[in-house]
């Protein structure tokens, strides 16, 4: 259960982080978001990742928790990356 929850939080964190980057804002929204909105995305991202780490460390201890968090964070970032590629490909095709 802690794995699933932490992974979901990592996924949320990296999705928010992606929305906080200029390139993705231009690609997804066609414009840059307001600085305050970008700031909120960054905060959501940081909080989600810290919560994910907290859950794993609380359940598994520091050593196992840190290792598991590292794995979840990497895979979550990869999934967000692939989703962004998929979205860009789908959206690009529709435009054509």
């Amino acid at each position: 259960m802690s794995h699933l929850l932490s992974f979901a939080l990592c996924l949320t964190g990296f999705t928010a982080l992606a929305f906080a980057t200029n390139r993705q804002q231009r690609d997804i929204f066609g414009r840059l978001l307001r600085p305050s909105t970008t700031y909120v995305h960054r905060m959501v991202s940081a909080c989600a990742l810290v919560f994910a780490l907290g859950i794993l460390v609380a359940r598994q201890g520091w050593s196992l928790g840190l290792v598991m968090f590292s794995g979840h964070a990497t895979i979550a970032a990869g999934i967000v990356f692939c989703a962004l590629i998929g979205r860009a490909r789908t959206f690009g095709r529709k435009l054509l």
Partner: protein
Amino acid sequence: MKTDNDVQVAGRGIRQSMSSLHTWAGLLLGWILYAMFLTGTVSYFKDELSQWMRPELPRLSQIPDQAVVAQRIADELSDIAPGTSQWSIRLPDARNNSVYAFWRTPAGNPGGRGFGEANFDPATGQRVTSRGTLGGEFFYRFHFQFHYMPVVWGRWLAGAAAMFMLVAIVSGVITHKKIFVDFFTFRWGKGQRSWLDAHNAFSVFGLPFHFMITYTGLVTMMALYMPWGERVAFKNPAEQQQLNAELSAFIQPGKPSGQKVPLASVEDMVRQAQERWGRDNVGRVNAVHPGDAAARVAVTRGEAGRVSMSPQYMEFEGTTGKLLAVREDVGAAAETRGVLYALHLGRFGDTVTRWLYFLVSFMGTAMVGSGLVMWTVKRRQKLPDPDRPYFGFRLVERLNIASIAGLSIAMTAFLWANRLLPHPLEGRANWEIDLFFIVWAFTLLHALVRPAKSAWVEQLWAASALLFLLPVLNAVTTQRPLWHSLAEGDWVFAGVDIMCWALAALHAVLAIRTARQETRSQFRRKTSREAPTAVASGGAAG
């Protein structure tokens, strides 16, 4: 005083130097690194793969009581190896369905390697006869010591490759200009740019893992690479023995008394260990001089649930079963080594953690592979005549094909050999390995004689077909086809079969994309002849 411009020029210079270092450190031993990464990645499931490669051994629906099993096998060993100076039993656990034991044989034993070994059925204690195979252990050993060469040479080569990898990682981080800004960037269909983005993604997402796995890989064999400190610090045998005690649960045999006294109850000893560490968390039982009055028994803790390979064991007097010592701590230096070692092996984790290790390590493999391919992609654009590249380019390109696509074929061929080679074949385990290398050599030959694009596509399709058909071969040649495994809840066999299909799909996608890339490149070349300005925007990807 430096001006801003001077600083910028100096900064650019360092980045360019690091870029060159990254390129060449990654390339020179890149093919070896790719093989080390891929076989190392597979090794996270070496126990499961070993089970799949010994289908005669029945699945354990639940872990048997380790204390009872330990006594059973100890009794069996007293019959099989009476008078042995030492035996060691690895007990069954969630990932191992048999008991493995080895024992020393008396010196001068005819045909002797100095030890005997066998797998035992935990339920009966009888020796089990399964096909001769090294199982997943082959990939594990190959990834740090290779084959057909002295073990020490192989380990030195692996160390050199790991050192190159470490240099490539550090120089790559310095070279990457916008590591955070470009964190999620991927530009599709842009040739070299796309390859670079993919390489960056594989590298940056798994960067902590890639750094950790490379550094800890060097730590696992630090005593070989840098023995001088140890030689200075531990001069006499007693000090060496003390060092060994910090690193492993090996009990120094000492001298036997010559007085025959049977071992006390091994079951009771393991029972005490179970009370301390948990029912299913006993790893091994080691005995020295069993059957002698000087016998000692060590029961070691399992690897699950602790990120350290430092030894933890309970030592018993063999004849009485009296607890002599409990060892659960080592010095700070030894513990640092134990933690780094455990981080590399990843045996402490549950199934989810093992899958995380596997997937991130797979990203590392893709990082090395995409880096190798990018070397040719980058230079292909600058070739005066892409159809007639210079020797160095051709060499790298062909080695890339054999070491990336060819290795997939060879590894799958190893599994095919496991199912097809006859059981009574002399040296069967070695034949499986020989076939792995024969097939790999054939892929290199194929890459040398075929046009590069055709070789990529054909080898990727061949790997895909072999992987796709492997579960079919398993269904035909064993009593454990996929539908049976699913019905029985045998996730080791079902997992290997399903994973083969997933990897077959991956190779098929790569083959299709490579074939399409060829068509697009030809189209671009054709249109460039008609309209020379059009080619400037199109990168010929590999």
